[in-house]
């Protein structure tokens, strides 16, 4: 079975997006913890070591998520569109394989945030009656082409039933 890959630009786009959220998070976290809580409750042994531990843990997770995960995530993302189904394979720690029968698709949505726009990327949201699945980081042309193809397929499958 042949799987398509998402765009390589995704790695950069994700890194930039996540760096921004990292900066915002720590801009709030640092003053709250080290200017507010620590001076007042820092004398308590558990609070002091607990908070320092938490900071190290959070920093580790965020750094991993920002600079290492995008590369692996990109490598692991695969999708294939077949005549009766869409298959998505993704995930690093928890691997996911999702199958969406084409006849269940309600509508398709193309989404572009500011960062995706500057990289000429778009994500494709596939909506069924009960859930949403996203294929991230396609080029806009790819996304349009897939949505056209799916539209034709959905119409066909409706004819059959």
């Amino acid at each position: 079975m042949e799987y398509s890959r998402i765009q390589k630009n995704a790695v950069k786009a994700w890194m930039i997006g996540r760096t921004i959220s990292l900066v915002i998070f720590f801009a709030i976290y640092y003053p709250v913890v080290y200017k507010l809580i620590m001076p007042n409750f820092g004398s308590i042994f558990e609070v002091k070591y607990g908070l320092n531990g938490l900071t190290i843990l959070l920093a580790f997770c965020f750094l991993m998520n920002t600079f290492i995960m995008p590369v692996i995530q990109y490598k692991e993302w695969k999708y294939s569109i077949q005549e009766d189904r869409i298959e998505l394979i993704h995930g690093v720690l928890v691997r996911n394989k999702v199958i969406i029968p084409i006849s269940r698709i309600q509508y398709i949505e193309i989404e572009q945030g500011p960062i995706y726009q500057s990289f000429h990327l778009a994500s494709l949201n596939i909506n069924t009656a009960s859930d949403v699945h996203e294929i991230p980081a396609l080029t806009l042309e790819e996304a349009n082409e897939i949505s056209q193809r799916l539209k034709a397929m959905i119409e066909m499958s409706e004819d059959i039933e």
């Binding site: 691997r95 199958i99 309600q106 859930d131």
Partner: protein, 492 residues
């Protein structure tokens, strides 16, 4: 595809108000809610005004005296009444081309059109008040997920309500609504109802009720009945023990009684029957309910068992169907209590398309450890913290058997099966749920696994189904990897 139609089912048509009014004027047979609806509207409006009224009375009566206050109150009330009447007058409905149209509002006019064939459930209910006036409330629901409330709720004469129901469900001469049923039906006798009350978390429910009552009444409660929980002075262990036993016993007795009462009031005279292609469910003592809905719109059946029910092999059957059971504090009940034989009989008789004849596949033995280890680690950490900080913390070791039992039950309860049109899943530990869904209601199916699961060739199966709640997804854990792959191929 069936689901697609259902989602597009109802249309709110907003047009130029002039057009609407003209169109309505063309119809001579415009109908309204029963005049009693004014009272309902009046009371509802009053509820939102009540604080203002109270504040007015409290602050003004020293300044203006009672007569002025009564006069003001009279004016406010008549205003509310006047607006209720206007509201009532503007809520009209009429029938045209196999559809019901409902128009409401004075300034902001809304017309709602519901096609008969898109109607999923029609629900008739009678509370005490309605019974006294010979009225019935009719609620019409489509499969739309967009609203919390019913698409259409009307208060009408009982006869009129029955007539509309028959019109919508396309039944000519059926007077059975809220009357004695002549069809073959499954009923719930009082011993079954008793069993249901006792097994369905009676104690938890009762304690909940007691707790609420206690927080409301607080100290007065104990004072009024002159109950002293503890005499000050002699705190011997024996004294505390006897007291504890007394209190626990009292709570048990009270909660069981409350639970029994509640079950009897709710499910009194429970009946479920099929006529033609409509499934009918009716129950209730004070608030009589009658649901009827198209059988082919039922997506699945859940059988639910709590711990006690698992011990006695009895189940509660519920339905997955849009528009049923989404009211507050109400579950989409098919049959409150039944054993395995009765379950098979009911499904065979009422919903034969959900009869699963295939064999169920269970997780392999090597999956058992996967159900247990996380709980053990969690409890080990918890026990460590407790033992370190509290003097009796070592007692938390008792949680280990609890974790083991829970994990083992999850392992035992997990199973899946697939047939031509059906998908069967069974999952959860203390609160076991068995789900049978039509494959056509499965919106997406997937598998997920971690590194450790892959090493043991196991994976979780995630199934997302079309239901009342958006994003309803069922996960069955730690199944044979190979088997899930087979399943993924079969869903289309």
């Amino acid at each position: 595809m069936n689901n697609k139609e259902e989602l597009k089912n109802h249309q709110n048509i907003s047009r130029n108000s002039q057009d609407i009014i003209e169109e309505v004027d063309e119809f001579d047979e415009v109908e309204r809610n029963h005049a009693c609806k004014i009272l309902y509207l009046f009371l509802r409006k009053l509820m939102s005004w009540i604080f203002l009224i109270i504040i007015v009375i409290k602050n003004m009566h020293s300044d203006f005296g009672f007569s002025a206050i009564f006069f003001a109150l009279f004016i406010i009330l008549s205003f509310v009444m006047f607006f209720s009447m206007i509201d009532w007058y503007n809520q009209i409905f009429y029938f045209k081309d196999e559809a019901i149209y409902y128009k409401s509002g004075l300034m902001n006019i809304k017309i709602r059109e519901i096609q008969f064939k898109k109607v999923n459930t029609v629900d008739l209910s009678q509370g005490i008040l309605e019974k006294a006036f010979g009225l019935a409330k009719i609620k019409i629901d489509t499969a739309s997920l967009s609203k919390d409330e019913s698409e259409l709720s009307l208060l009408l004469n009982k006869e009129k309500a029955i007539e509309i129901r028959n019109l919508i469900l396309n039944r000519k001469d059926d007077e059975t609504v809220l009357e004695e049923v002549s069809y073959d039906c499954y009923t719930l006798n009082s011993s079954q109802l008793m069993l249901y009350a006792l097994t369905s978390n009676a104690i938890a429910k009762g304690i909940g009720i007691i707790f609420v009552a206690y927080t409301f009444l607080d100290d007065y409660f104990l004072d009024i009945f002159d109950i002293k929980l503890f005499d000050k002075g002699h705190f011997t262990i024996q004294y505390l023990l006897t007291k504890a036993i007394w209190i626990i016993g009292a709570i048990l007795v009270i909660s069981i009684t409350l639970s029994v009462l509640q079950s009897f009031i709710r499910y009194y005279n429970f009946k479920v029957y099929v006529d033609k292609d409509k499934l009918n469910i009716r129950y209730g003592l004070l608030n009589e309910k009658h649901y009827s809905f198209a059988r082919n719109k039922i997506k699945g059946i859940h059988s639910k068992q709590n711990l006690i029910m698992q011990l006695f092999h009895i189940k509660t059957l519920e339905i997955e169907s849009i528009g049923y059971g989404d009211e507050k504090g109400e579950s989409a009940i098919l049959f409150p209590i039944c054993n395995v034989d009765l379950e098979r009989k009911i499904i065979n008789d009422i919903l034969p398309e959900f009869n699963f004849g295939g064999c169920m596949q269970v997780p392999p033995k090597r999956a058992l450890i996967r159900f247990i280890w996380k709980k053990l680690v969690f409890i080990a950490i918890l026990a460590g913290i407790f033992t370190y900080y509290f003097s009796f913390g070592f007692l938390s070791v008792l949680l280990f058997p609890f974790a083991l039992i829970l994990g083992y039950m999850q392992f035992k309860n997990t199973a899946v099966g697939m047939e031509k049109d059906l998908l069967v899943m069974s999952y959860n530990g203390f609160y076991k749920v068995g789900t049978v869904v039509k494959k056509s209601a499965v919106q997406s199916i997937g598998k997920s696994y971690t590194y450790f699961q892959k090493k043991r060739k196991l994976a979780n199966c995630n199934v997302s189904i079309f239901s009342n709640q958006k994003y309803k997804s069922i996960q069955v854990e730690n199944l044979e990897d190979q088997m899930i792959d087979d399943y993924l191929k079969k869903v289309r």
